[in-house]
Amino acid sequence: MLEAPVLSVKQLSVAFGSHEAVSDLSFDIHAGETLALVGESGSGKSASALSVMRLIEREGGRITNGQIRLGQIGPGHDAPVDLARLTDRQMQPLRGNRISMIFQEPMTSLNPVMRIGEQLAEVLRRHQGLSRTMALAAAEEALDQVRIPDPARRLRQFPHELSGGLRQRVMIAMALACRPDVLIADEPTTALDVTTQAEVLKLLKSLQDELGMAVLFITHDMGVVAEIADRVSVLRHGRTEEQARVRDLFTAPASPYARDLMAATPKLGQSPIRPPVPPAAPVLSVRGLCKDFHQGGGLLKPRTTTHAVRDVSFDIRPGETLGLVGESGCGKSTLSRAVMRLIEPDAGEVLLAGQPFTGLSEPAMRQARGNLQMVFQDPFASLNPRMKVRDLITEPAFLHDGLDGAARRERALDLLDKVALPADAAERFAHQFSGGQRQRLCIARALSVSPKVIIADEAVSALDVSTAARVTALMQRIQEDLGVAFLFISHDIAVIERVSHRIAVMYRGEIVETGPTEQVLRSPQHPYTRKLLAAVPIPMTTPRTRQRSLEPVP
């Protein structure tokens, strides 16, 4: 390519204290081009992005070596500046102006006590010297550009009045308000639902076509990479493992790590489908379960009711995994809690191993819960930091069966063996383990009372793809060995496909479709299922021009 790159990073190294987070990173991005920086958590991708913004110093890091040269779009411009050598004061006129950034968390990245309009206008007033009224007019245009309906009204709203997807659009509008040469997007769609993610990615792509900026896109999701990037740089432990064009990476990854990463990524339609289990009496049977939430209802205030779970029924057979898929807020976590009776359902019944579970008295229910265990999403918050692992994972057995002393220690070692953790883990504490290992501990704890059913609520959502793949494989092995049934809840349909015998699709509190995995994914009946499937980014590049339907579902 003859044209000079807009952003050129050479031999960049970044350190936090004595720990080197990024080593010898180099890449170029040209106008209109998107480079994806890919890696698992701790690979240094966010540190690299923050270094380019020179915000890394704020996070306690520093640039120890290298150049970050920022050029300009179009011909006939000044020589590029080396951002690594600028002072904070010299960086200020560039940030938000020639180089912008959007962040992962749209829920917390906007100032909660300032109106949207004010936050947008601030950038324009600072960098383009517009008056307040002119800046607000320009802000309205910027909101219109990111296809936010009714922009004039949005200007006067506060961030909490907007959904996650809309907030991320506001962030994009803010970042692009001054038409930057470089846009850095740090996991901008990770916190969003797939359908919202698809819309935001499409928007970014079309804005890039319009404005011609260079985009540095940071993600851990290979599906998103295939969707948006031209070239990819794979990072691991701060080092570049491979840099390639997207097509080359997907068809023939050169480095072993990239190959592992590709293999671990769940691809919709690529996993071997688990055949349905033979018919048997259901081990967990849910009939007409309902749960409403009420808000307000004080003096002079009307009560509002949310139907979180509406008339939900399903069966799970012994040794079967039912995948429950749906987007955030669809009621899947409420459903799992209502089945567990962590919250009391308003109506309906739950049968556990043929015995009624709803309607049991508190002590009887607690006894019956030995057959129904749960694994939660956050492996960091769901393990008591002050208990040794051997006590932690055998606590349910202690509570249910009074298992104690030598037998309890023996059970702990047995459980650690089942989840493929070393025996010496028994004497350690939860914080000494990684996220994936902690989730294994949670599974071990659930197994300690030999339950018939385990509810896994987004159990692998907080984990890196390769870790998640190992954890789901472990669950599958345990299922084959012990015949335990799983209710596996996830927002990620590719993970659901990998683990489930049957799938239930949840939408606005109701199960809209249920059936064997193959049937639901190959010939979805409900329009929402079809929309969900169409929105999933597919980690392969050949059919790049997939048609999507983004029409709202009734």
Binding site: L94, S109, P112, G296, L300
Partner: protein, 308 residues
């Protein structure tokens, strides 16, 4: 909004009713006030007349009901000592007390918020440690110690400042400092903690990524968010000051405010004055609390008054 005001008013009335009841019976527990007022030389008939004049011959329940009726009708009773309506006596004291309260709050905000912000920004340098050490000392020393110390040094030793009354602006200096001491210490610590919370928030990084200078990031985006939490505490602190802080300080400096009046009327067992003084102070506390709630909701758009 209207619903909120209505609810606040109802709550206020209930609170006041409870306080009036408590104060009424608590004062009666310490015996008949007449023993203090009526001299030795009074004849038995005069004595009866006086007791009847103040309605003290009725049963305690009749007195209580009579007192409640009086409050509803706007008749708050006569001072035993001065023989004039307690409302007039208390009204004279409201102005000076409010002035002292206002000057103390202004001083507190002007000193504590900048100090708290500085302590948060320089938490790892000696500046932050020095501010927090100072705040700790300020927290530990009671206001009457500060007051006595100041009187000793600035009035008696150097003869720089007046001690008694509220005649001029110079009279405000020592009482204001004595009143705000603990408050400044508390609010400095609180501002620092609120600011530290905010400094780590994602939107602060966004503000920097927009290219805003650090001062704008801290003062506009940071302080505005920290201010929301600080405000709620400030309201409580002011209410506390209005309720109790002024009693000690006003007494020491003979400040003609409500606090001093309460002490005097308690000593002389002038119950009607004491009762009405306490009711006035309670009313002030309740109003300040309500104003704090409203200010909080205005400052933080996520709080809706309807839900408060």
């Amino acid at each position: 909004m209207i619903a909120y005001i209505l609810r606040t008013l109802i709550k206020m009335c209930v609170t006041l009713f409870v306080i009036i009841t408590l104060v009424f019976f608590a004062t009666r527990l310490s015996g008949s006030p007449m023993e203090t007022f009526l001299g030795e030389g009074l004849t038995a008939e005069d004595r009866e007349l006086m007791i009847a004049y103040f309605g003290l011959d009725q049963s305690i329940w009749q007195q209580y009901l009579g007192y409640l009726r009086g409050i509803v009708e706007g008749n708050y009773g006569l001072s035993f000592l001065e023989r004039r309506p307690v409302a007039d006596i208390v009204a004279e004291r409201v102005g000076p007390s409010l002035q002292l309260l206002a000057s103390s709050v202004l001083l507190t905000v002007a000193v504590a918020i900048p100090l708290g912000v500085l302590a948060a920004l320089y938490r790892e340098s000696w500046v932050g440690s020095a501010i927090m050490a100072l705040a700790f000392v300020g927290y530990a020393v009671p206001n009457f110690v500060i007051a006595t110390f100041m009187v000793l040094v600035f009035a008696f030793m150097w003869n720089l400042l007046p001690v008694v009354g509220n005649g001029s602006w110079a009279h405000f200096i020592m009482p204001t400092i004595a009143m705000s001491g603990v408050l400044i210490a508390a609010l400095t610590r609180f501002t620092r903690n609120a600011m530290l919370d905010v400094l780590g928030q994602d939107f602060m990084r966004t503000a920097r990524a927009k290219g805003l200078p650090e001062t704008v990031v801290i003062l506009k985006h940071g302080l505005r968010n920290a201010g929301v939490t600080v405000l709620s505490v400030l309201g409580l602190q002011i209410a506390g000051l209005a309720a109790a802080g002024n009693v000690v300080v006003e007494s020491i400096f003979s400040w003609p405010g409500i606090g001093e009046l309460l002490v005097q009327s308690a000593i002389t067992r002038d119950y009607p004055v004491l009762q009405f003084g306490v009711i006035a102070v309670s009313l002030a506390v309740v109003v300040i609390n309500a104003l704090t709630d409203i200010a909080y909701a205005v400052a933080d758009p996520r709080i809706r008054l309807a839900k408060a």
